[in-house]
């Protein structure tokens, strides 16, 4: 009897211990999420407040009056849809170019045999470390000469160039992990090197492509300085620049800006969700039991 009892208490202790661990884990996770999401939550709350409440001190954490006026103003005051579209074109174009070129360069660097491979990789990485601002003026002059100001390509090309090193590194690191034999099987089956890359390697590299695409897309979506300098026409401005223009010389409509920011974040969140699922899918499972 006593043994049974002790066992019972023992099990109870284990259960409590396990539950406690789980609760602790979720509290910790929730805290982390709260901290990183606080700016977004705060913007969302602010976007629902009337202008007078938004700047009131002490601040109200829960709006006394909830209004959608800020959203209406944001959409009416400026061509918000157009800004979003521009950002989408620029960010998508950048992501497509970088994933494509990153895959080609990454494949060559991870698989083909040539001299000075490591120095090439290091130079690629080093190029990403050059001060961002130092490239602005020369590139502005270049874009002006090539008539690329107020043109999507004017932003897509420099963005793609800045982010290509990351794409190359992500892709080559992923390709290195793939077993050689899968490519060799493709070669034996009658494919060329490029055939192997496009028909075998890329289809199973969705996780790497998604990761590269997410990083590049977010960068291009959030970039401000080049977008401000290169796109001067109202119809060509991207969302980051557009939001900054809601502020006037003497006024700063926090509610409207917050509403615009919230609306600009939604496509990004959707994009993340779609690609994240791709990453988790783990298409590489099933390479055999090596």
């Amino acid at each position: 009897m006593s043994t049974e009892r002790r066992t019972h208490y023992g099990l109870g202790d284990i259960e409590i211990g396990e539950t406690g661990k789980k609760i602790g884990f979720y509290i910790a996770i929730s805290l982390l999420v709260l901290i990183s999401f606080f700016p977004i939550i705060w913007m969302f709350i602010t976007s629902l407040k009337p202008p007078t409440e938004a700047v009131r001190f002490p601040v109200t954490y829960i709006p006394e009056t909830i209004t959608l006026q800020n959203y209406r103003t944001a959409l009416e005051q400026r061509p918000f849809g157009r800004y979003l579209f521009n950002s989408f074109v620029v960010a998508s174009g950048t992501a497509i170019i970088d994933v494509f070129l990153g895959a080609l360069a990454g494949y060559a660097l991870s698989r083909l045999r040539f001299r000075f491979k490591l120095p090439v990789l290091l130079i690629i990485l080093f190029s990403a470390m050059l001060p961002f601002i130092s490239r602005l003026i020369p590139l502005f002059r270049l874009a002006r000469e090539l008539m690329l100001l107020n043109d999507y390509l004017g932003l897509i090309l420099p963005y793609a160039a800045f982010q290509l090193p990351f794409a190359v590194w992500i892709m080559q690191a992923y390709f290195k992990e793939l077993p050689d034999s899968i490519e060799e099987a493709g070669l034996m089956d009658g494919l060329t090197r490029l055939g192997v890359l496009f028909r075998i390697i890329l289809p199973i590299s969705a996780p790497a492509m998604a990761t590269a695409a997410i990083i590049v897309f977010i960068y291009a979506w959030n970039e401000f300085l080049f977008a401000l300098t290169f796109m001067t026409e109202e119809q060509m401005k991207t969302i980051t620049v557009g939001i900054a223009l809601y502020g006037g010389q003497y006024s700063f409509p926090w509610g409207t800006i917050s509403a615009a920011v919230v609306m600009s974040v939604i496509p990004l969140l959707l994009f993340m969700l779609i690609f994240q699922r791709k990453v988790v899918e783990g298409l590489t499972a099933g390479f055999g039991k090596a």
């Binding site: 698989r111 083909l112 045999r113 491979k117 077993p179 050689d180 034999s181 899968i182 490519e183 060799e184 099987a185 493709g186 070669l187 034996m188 089956d189 009658g190 494919l191 055939g195 075998i200 289809p203 199973i204 298409l283 590489t284 499972a285 099933g286 390479f287 055999g288 039991k289 090596a290």
Partner: protein, 390 residues
């Protein structure tokens, strides 16, 4: 037809000879050196040797996945040395199966066919189904590789090779990822399949049992150099050198350093009188020799027998039908394989004898065989051999 010939094949890594894949590790590593092998149509040739002996590199050179540094490879008299893998009419089965994870089994098997031939998709499909029937995997056709077990993946990999009806199958340790039971089963199946199809096959393994049981002939490599090519029994009974003798056969052959004095072999623990025939055979043999005796050829001497070595038992490994005795002779441990019904104790000393017909002798310097168990000069019985313990 699938007559394959390798002539003076040499492969050096990092010595300027580029290859199709991989990083360039190290400088001038000779992976395969001056290898020449001829293979008849329909033959099952096994390349065997320890890790790093060059067997996989040889196979990859035959496949076209590595460029040769020197030498020629020809198939049915056609020089294929510089052809691309797809132009060689060969199919390969890889160690880790290398199935395409994003394709179904049906697509995996038929992929090569749809690329290299102009068959319609329904014809490819018919062929794939035929092969699936042959390999008894029709129910797997619409599954993805990750849903299959190791054995099933192996069958798909075989199917992918068979479906193209190549002149030569190349198999790179295809069974080494399977568990012991499945390996034995697949071994038989591959043998049957190869015999039915009659396709020339080059099979690489490091497992000497696989080599012995599967190959029509086996080629033993070490350090990139060919040691011997022959039927499994030739390599077992007439090893060209001490390396082959030690590699083929399980447990490995015992090697005892001896000194040849003209009429006897002298070991620090015993001396071994030679028959007149063997003395004559060894007339020009070097003084420093290695005596080789396979564990299964060591016999327990009956009472009063003349040819005995007195050896204490260190460890006994009962295997059922057989028992392995680890015996100490002259401070070194050797293995004897005896009838499993015999009872012995650890620490007990037994009298064993090495029948003269079964002993091998190798030059200590270089390792070449100077006497093998099947040599005609060696007497058929061991009556004339005398072993006396010190």
């Amino acid at each position: 037809m699938g007559e394959l010939e390798l002539r003076n094949l040499t492969k050096v890594f990092g010595g300027g000879g580029g290859d199709e894949s991989g990083d360039d590790d190290g400088d001038g590593i000779v992976a395969v050196s001056d290898l020449s092998i001829e293979m008849a149509d329909g033959e099952f040739l096994v390349l065997v040797g320890p890790s790093g002996c060059g067997k996989s590199t040889t196979l990859r050179c035959i496949a076209g996945l590595e460029h040769t540094t020197d030498g020629r490879i020809s198939l049915d008299g056609r020089d294929i040395t510089d052809l691309k893998p797809k132009e060689r009419d060969m199919a390969m089965v890889f160690q880790n199966y290398a199935l395409y994870p994003h394709m179904t089994v049906r697509k995996n098997i038929g992929y090569g066919l749809s690329i290299t031939t102009d068959l319609s998709s329904s014809e490819v499909d018919d062929r794939v189904e035929e092969i699936a029937e042959l390999l008894e995997i029709p129910e797997l056709l619409d599954k993805k590789p990750k849903e299959l077990s190791g054995g099933q993946q192996q069958r798909v990999a075989l199917g992918r090779a068979i479906v193209r009806e190549p002149e030569v199958f190349l198999m790179d340790e295809p069974l080494s990822n399977l568990d012991a039971k499945l390996r034995t089963q697949m071994r038989t199946e591959i043998q049957q399949l190869q015999a039915d199809l009659g396709t020339s096959t080059v099979y690489v393994t490091h497992d000497q049992t696989e080599a012995m049981t599967m190959g029509d002939r086996i080629a033993i490599l070490d350090g990139g150099e060919l040691q011997q090519v022959g039927t499994p029994l030739e390599c077992y009974h007439e090893p060209a050198n001490a390396f082959v003798a030690g590699f083929i056969g399980s447990p490995s052959m015992n090697f005892l350093p001896v000194e040849f004095t003209g009429d006897e072999l002298r070991h620090k623990a015993f001396s071994y009188d030679l028959s007149a025939d063997l003395q004559e055979h060894l007339r020009n043999a070097p003084r420093e020799l290695t005596l080789g005796i396979r564990p299964e050829h060591i016999e327990i001497a009956e009472d009063g027998a003349r040819n005995v070595v007195h050896a204490p038992i260190e460890v006994i490994e009962p295997m059922g039908e057989l028992s392995y005795l680890h015996l100490t002779i002259g401070g070194t441990t050797y293995t004897a394989s005896i009838d499993g019904d015999r009872h012995h104790q650890v620490g007990e000393a037994v009298d064993v004898l090495f029948p003269e017909a079964k002993i091998h002798l190798f030059a200590r310097d270089g390792g070449e065989a100077v006497k093998n168990s099947r040599d005609a000069a060696a007497p058929a019985t061991d009556e004339s051999a005398t072993v006396a313990t010190d």
